[in-house]
């Protein structure tokens, strides 16, 4: 009970930090989306390898789960969601290639004999941008070398301390990011580019993939911590309840024992007094 209580407190202390990092990363991704929209509007729908849709011969799947358990249904619900997708994809005759984040997902899919292309461990607790970049680069390399023709990702979106939603999101090819609601369609801007529009786009799009992966990792991490807090809170409460019930049973047993003992003594004393 002490352990679950401690874990609850640890997880609880990490939630604000994780959610703060989620919101700290928002300005960057929002600006990046804005810049990409401006550039693609200005360059008249420039095409790029990462934007082009092609026939899917190998479907890539990225699953963001957790390294550690004791977080209730957190890992299993996202894994279930992903597995459903994988089964559907494989049924249509397209082999799925798995990229997993977190030990839980790795051991689950490994045990079920799925082919895991790459596993990333030890990043879910406090993901850094470097982790996101490494994952994004591997995915983009796989995409560039035709190892996969699309990448779908599964992660848990952090909505509030009580609600986290497993989500599916198509990472590659990049779906033209939509602007924030209410933002008017942009008139094409005549930028002067340094160096060229294509060179800029070449650099922008990978950044976009990286920052998308990064925000996914952050959301997933915030979700994991709050799922763990909730699971540990429930565990603590259950343990409390159990302790109450067991204490009561123990007390009753002890009382019964004492009563028997007293009646034996009384009975014995009575027997002795009758003899004399």
């Amino acid at each position: 009970m002490k352990i679950t209580r401690a874990m609850e407190l640890i997880a609880a202390s990490r939630i604000p930090k994780a959610t703060a990092r989620v919101s700290a990363s928002k300005p960057y991704s929002a600006k990046l989306v804005e810049v990409i929209r401006n550039v693609s509007a200005a360059s008249g729908g420039a095409s790029h390898m990462l934007l082009e849709r092609r026939e899917v011969k190998n479907a890539g799947v990225l699953i963001v789960a957790s390294d550690r358990g004791l977080a209730g249904a957190y890992a299993s619900s996202i894994i279930r969601e992903a597995e459903r997708h994988i089964i559907a994809v494989e049924k249509s005759g397209t082999p799925a290639r798995l990229f997993v984040v977190g030990k839980k997902a790795q051991s689950y899919f490994h045990y079920r004999k799925y082919h895991i292309e790459r596993a990333f461990l030890g990043v879910t607790d406090t993901p850094g941008y470097g982790d996101a970049r490494a994952i994004a680069n591997i995915l983009m390399d796989a995409y560039a070398s035709n190892t996969v023709d699309s990448v779908d990702t599964f992660y848990t979106q952090y909505k509030s301390p009580m609600t986290q939603v497993p989500l599916q999101f198509q990472l590659l090819p990049i779906v033209a990011p939509e602007g924030a609601e209410g933002s008017e369609p942009l008139a094409s801007v005549d930028y002067s580019y340094e160096p060229s529009p294509t060179a800029i786009l070449d650099r922008l799009l990978p950044r976009y993939v990286e920052s998308t992966v990064f925000s996914m990792l952050l959301e997933a991490s915030a979700s994991e911590h709050s799922a763990r807090r909730r699971a540990m809170k429930a565990a603590t409460e259950n343990a409390d309840e159990l302790i109450r019930i067991l204490t009561r049973i123990a007390n009753r047993a002890r009382q019964a024992e004492i009563t028997t003992e007293i009646s034996e003594i009384v009975g014995g004393a009575e027997a002795l007094s009758q003899q004399t």
């Binding site: 700290a24 990363s25 991704s29 600006k31 810049v35 930028y191 580019y193 340094e194 800029i200 920052s211």
Partner: protein, 108 residues
Amino acid sequence: MAKAFNVDVVSPEATVWSGEATFVVARTTEGEIGIMADHEPVMAALATGAVKIESDSEKVTIGVHGGFLQILNNQVTLLTDRAELSTGDADDARKIAEGLRELEEGAE
């Protein structure tokens, strides 16, 4: 008093600096660029180096490694890969930027 415009310096992990400025110097891959109010729209790739931001009340230097610079309607946005505020002058900021670059190359 020179006309002021908005500047945002953001990195993936945080907003590094945000506020009004009258003059900004940054290093793009093509060379240094000085920005004052009513600059034409620019989209540029940033190089490793110091970014100087001057306003009427303060001067800030930021060490920056990689990213983009957008100028649009008196709104300057620096989308950096890595950035760190410098407490000293431009040389100090340059050192920070070099440090950021080494950090990045070490990570890969």
